[in-house]
Symmetry: C2
Subunit: 151 residues, 2 copies
């Protein structure tokens, strides 16, 4: 695997929605599964969210569904600046990103930026960190990098 | 599994593009894989494509990438009426559907239509058949059903 990520395994599809309670209920009904608990991303002090290089108080409500070997993630962003909010405003509801589990977040971000794929947003979550890279122009979807802490 | 499809395993993500040669080269470069052969869907006599209940001569160029347990499908539609063309015109380039392998295509289409998810497009391909169901309003992405012939 000589690609930029060191993997080509999609682990997540992220879909932007206006009303996560309504849409997650629709998924639960459609696929015959329990409606998952909606999670709210951490406050800035924990998430340390940066959007286009600047700190942002942006938070989002998330709901996850296991769909085979990958997760489908519903995302309802708040009104603060984020890749979620700007993409939702520009494209409307629908798929936003595909995610890949990588190792070495800083090095991957640097590598991707050197190849012309700017960092759009990054942040921390319990157990790891994420980065949205702007691959839309080339790949027609955003790529999210996920790095999980070693146990 | 008491859901409408009898499965929740996503087997494919379909992404609409204007220039499949350019975008498939970008994927090949990004993921470090060979650029796949672009396939053109069958002529009407074989594909028997129906869009919103009417025959359509629509065809599309397709390119497939293996991304873990699922395929990422790039789709460049022609100008004839299709779910691909109307979605591309309305939403621009980007993800269009998630696909599931089902059994009993006719019964599944009837079941989904009875639940308020209309059939948008269906057709035949060598070895099976597909149907795009209009789940966008509820699920914020289209669902494609794939049925493969028994060996």
């Amino acid at each position: 695997m000589s690609g930029l990520l060191g993997t080509n395994v999609i682990t997540q599809i992220g879909i932007l929605v206006h009303d996560i309670e309504k849409v997650s209920q629709a998924y639960a009904d459609f696929f015959g599964v329990a409606k998952p608990q909606v999670i709210v991303t951490d406050v800035w002090e924990k998430a340390q969210t940066e959007v286009n290089g600047s700190p942002s108080e942006a938070r989002a409500k998330l709901a996850f569904f296991d769909m085979g070997s990958l997760q489908l993630e519903l995302i309802e962003p708040d009104e603060h600046p984020s890749t979620w909010r700007s993409y939702l405003n520009e494209h409307g509801e629908g798929p936003h990103h595909i995610a890949f589990v990588i190792e070495g977040m800083k090095e991957k971000i640097t590598l991707l930026e050197s190849k012309g794929f700017p960092l759009q947003q990054k942040g921390e979550y319990t157990g790891g960190r994420y980065a949205y890279m702007d691959t839309f122009k080339e790949l027609k979807v955003l790529v999210e990098l996920l790095e999980n802490d070693k146990a």
